[in-house]
Amino acid sequence: MDKCKTDEFKKIAYRIRKHIIEGTFNAGSGHPGGSLSCTDILTVLYFHSMNIDPKNPKAPDRDRFVLSKGHCAPALYGTLAERGFFPKEEIVKLRRIDSYLEGHPCMKSVPGVDMSTGSLAQGFSASVGMALAGKIDKKDYHVYTILGDGELEEGQVWEAAMAAAHFKLNNLIAFVDHNGMQIDGYITEVMSPEPVVGKFKAFGWNVINIDGHDYEQIIDAIEQGKMQKDKPTMIVAETIKGKGVSFMEGQVGWHGKAPDKEQRDKAIAELDEFLAGLEVE
């Protein structure tokens, strides 16, 4: 991929990261860690891979996206706002009583949200249903979803994985945001879902293991997924929790905690500095 294109993705992703910080700071709660780790994947999906139109968010033939790790709504909202589904000014109202930006994605109130999620694994099953509908209707759209790696501890994930392979849903492309951490600690210490790659292979999926912050790898993995003839694709994306904000990176404590004023200022300054660096180059 040429540098120009990479820089374009980086700029978008860093604007989304700023939305995540501003949103959670203003709300005084929320989940910045896992939001920051899946931001680059969302950037590629909404600014490169997905066939969507912010002016017609319910178009029947559009690609679908389900954030199965619904607690990372700040990342999805930031992405949708950047893509033009709703005004960016709404972001600071995250989780407020006078806002449609519910703490977890709500398809009835937020433009561009294809499925209400928040209770882990259910979004993954819903994405299987959407892909199945595409098969029934012989449509060409794809369904994308992002799961957390802690989410893999939910038994329903494996019910859905079994069903997607059984029905040969090659129109389903899923990601595991493999940042290695959940609320109570490292996933391998709380309840290890490893080996993630081996498990999905055993469930009959096409599995691709990538660096979840490398735009080229994300794009290539999606393209490989689209070429599948009879298997759903699971892209196991190695990511860093809190990616892009130095003091949040790799820290379990930033799973579900909002930055205070000082932390917010520091994070925004870092992100601004990064963006400025890109402009200068």
């Binding site: 029947p60 679908r64 389900v66 709500c106 398809m107 009835k108 294809d114 499925m115 209400s116 928040g118 209770s119 694994a121 259910q122 979004g123 993954f124 099953s125 819903a126 994405s127 299987v128 249903g129 959407m130 892909a131 199945l132 509908a133 595409g134 029934i136 209707d137 038994g155 329903q156 019910e159 859905a160 079994m162 069903a163 059984h166 029905f167």
Partner: protein, 317 residues
Amino acid sequence: MSKKIATRQAYGDALAEFGSDERIVVLDADLSKSTKTDVFKAKYPERHFNMGIAEGNMMAVAAGLSTCGKIVFASSFAIFASERACEQIRNSICYPKLNVKIGATHAGISVGEDGASHQCSEDIGVMRSMPNMTIICPADAVETRAAVKAAIELNGPVYLRLGRLNVPVIYDEANYKFELGKGVTLREGNDVTIISTGLMTEMALNAHELLKNEGIEARVINIHTIKPIDKEIITKAAKETGALVVAEEHVAYGGLGSAVAEVVVDNYPVPVKMVNMGDRFGKSGVPSELFKMYGLTPENIVSKAKEALEAKKKCCK
């Protein structure tokens, strides 16, 4: 004796009858021969999917299908549909108000020999507490067919409570007009009102006859739509008869009895007596024996009706 048909059978038949609507998709969890969705499957195999023994996944898959314009019927035994997959129904179907119909068969103690583990008797209470949910509990095959049609026409979640046992057909197909959310007055009377749902309605009609022999005129109201409930017909019965008996194949809490009591307390308080399973699980046995053991009989309805009448007299003094 009129012919007997299980409401689950009428459900499967109705799905097949109305299945030409291509938006309809039917899911089952390895019970299609028991839930009778196999009748639909035989006619429309391309729109019937066996989701295996995985009810939680089935409900959320149903939700996903419905976001793409499908009218989804997801079927299993009531116990697995309403309680194993309870939170999936809550978060993935009711919260986003999606067009999923839950065909819950084998509800109540009339499941019989399989015993308490499979006799779902809490489902009305569980489902009734969920915003956006419509609950229909048909009394016979005719009402079941109409309920399936109404569920197809309604855009939103519906819980259809259906039974395993063959039950008498009480409605005349040609003359029955089903109105979602409206109770049906089956017998007139001004001494006391028996309000019933599901297979208890047949028993309520028998109780009406027994009471008549003793000179008591009991009104009989069948409530097929438990949510939203017909407040008007219940309040009117409270005003005109002054005493109510509620009969249902359900535990004591959260079911039709609770729903009727809520309406009466709010609008026109009168004595209300309950005929239900009480605060206990079922057990194995032949349904007719279980009905006796748990007090789900016309005779018990009669005795509760008399209690209600006594209470009414005391109130009026």
